[in-house]
Symmetry: C2
Subunit: 256 residues, 2 copies
């Protein structure tokens, strides 16, 4: 079993060595800029860890995990655009449209999303591309609710906007490990708890969302309760889930 930090290294290597389509030409430069932005790589690490815990090998899930990170990166590039969140910075660097212009950022995001599905289409299980597409649509639907200020409960919004891709990290790990659908349910319940945990801490750090609704202490309490439930879900599984428990603990105490 590989520890979270080792899995993160595997992901970084896969992203650094990722072959991009030859006809993209100079567009690969902004794409690599976006991919090299660091970040916690939570989704691909979770995907690899679930695969290994469920009896697969890390390399079985590497394409799916990389595709997930491509989708996540695409979403950051487009969300930062002036038409959406209009963020000039991303992880301490100029965001993509600031560094390369808006037209290039738009196209680079489109290309990252397409590369993700190109990778997913080269995974052995067709369910992987299908689940990745559904999760991406959920994420986009959530972003649309957010942007249009629709009157929906905060947890419904989060379940789409961040929850769907995190849940897909678990799902893609399971398909990669060859876990049949009827046995996936308890793992997926864990993934849902993890989504809430991730978002609650995110909101504490950003001072919005749950932190605005429940206060910082309330949001932190929600995170701790959810982390406890996530750990319980793991303990109920007939599998070595020590690495996944480490991931839960890491998410619960993260400060960035």
């Amino acid at each position: 079993m590989q520890a979270p930090d080792e899995l993160r290294e595997v992901v970084e290597t896969s992203l650094a060595e990722l072959e991009l389509d030859g006809s993209l030409g100079a567009l690969t430069e902004p794409m690599r800029y976006a991919l090299a932005g660091g970040g916690k790589r939570i989704r691909p690490v979770l995907c690899l860890a679930v695969c290994e815990a469920a009896g697969g090998r890390v390399e079985d899930a590497l394409r799916a995990a990389t595709a997930l990170e491509l989708v996540h990166t695409f979403s950051l590039v487009h969300d930062d655009l002036p038409a959406l969140d209009d963020d000039d910075e991303r992880r301490g660097r100029p965001s993509l449209h600031v560094a390369f212009g808006e037209a290039v950022a738009l196209l680079a995001g489109d290309a990252l999303l397409t590369e993700a599905f190109g990778l997913a289409a080269r995974c052995e299980r067709p369910e992987i591309a299908r689940e990745l597409a559904r999760a991406t649509l959920g994420m986009i639907g959530g972003q649309h609710l957010d942007v249009t200020g629709a009157d929906v409960p905060l947890d419904a919004l989060h379940r789409l906007k961040t929850g769907r891709l995190l849940a897909a990290a678990v799902g893609l790990g399971l398909w990669s490990a060859g876990v049949p659908e009827p046995q996936q349910e308890p793992w997926r319940t864990f993934g849902e708890e993890l989504g809430v945990l991730f978002q609650a801490i995110d909101d504490v750090l950003d001072g919005d969302g749950y932190a605005a609704e429940l206060g910082a202490d309330g949001a932190r309490r929600l995170a701790l309760d959810t982390a406890g439930r996530a750990r319980e879900r793991l303990q109920g599984l007939d599998a070595d889930t020590t690495v996944l428990e480490e991931l839960v603990d890491g998410l619960a105490v993260r400060t960035v």
Copy 2:
């Protein structure tokens, strides 16, 4: 064998009845607005016609054909955005960002692209999603060349920007009909000629590209020569290609 107009009806019905992911919520409205914009549906009709000519059934290629039109529609929505071509009209109606705002148009484009790959992932042959991804990347690479004003020959630009998706229409029709890869080559050569034909006429109608380079008459001559070669390619195939010949003739004389 169904005539081009009948195939177009099949495509319109498929687009009108297309199920969009439930979590997209109100974002489905601008997506349907974009899809209902009419247009010649050349790519999906070509895909269905190739499938039928190559011995398959129209319904075998319907998902792939619909996915192609979704990719094409996504590209129009994003290309019209202020950051790219900044077009306020599309097919006689306000373009999507004029009708729904820039944020929604951006997200609707992303969702159309994702729905395309969701559909492709439900096709029987995994090659379909792979080829669709490669063709989409080529198209995006071409748009990037165009936007950045890179110094590349016009035909290289067109081969990417419009040629790749037209070529994929042929490719996806072949995979859908179950034509093995070694036997696809002559069909694919036809697809390349068709791409040049399409673009030459497009440029005659818009007064740019080949028409700017060769003059309107020069571009029209290029189109007629290419149509002739496309017909020759068809006649060299051991298949009933009457519908495809009709498509070539239709493209060669089109005025919109």
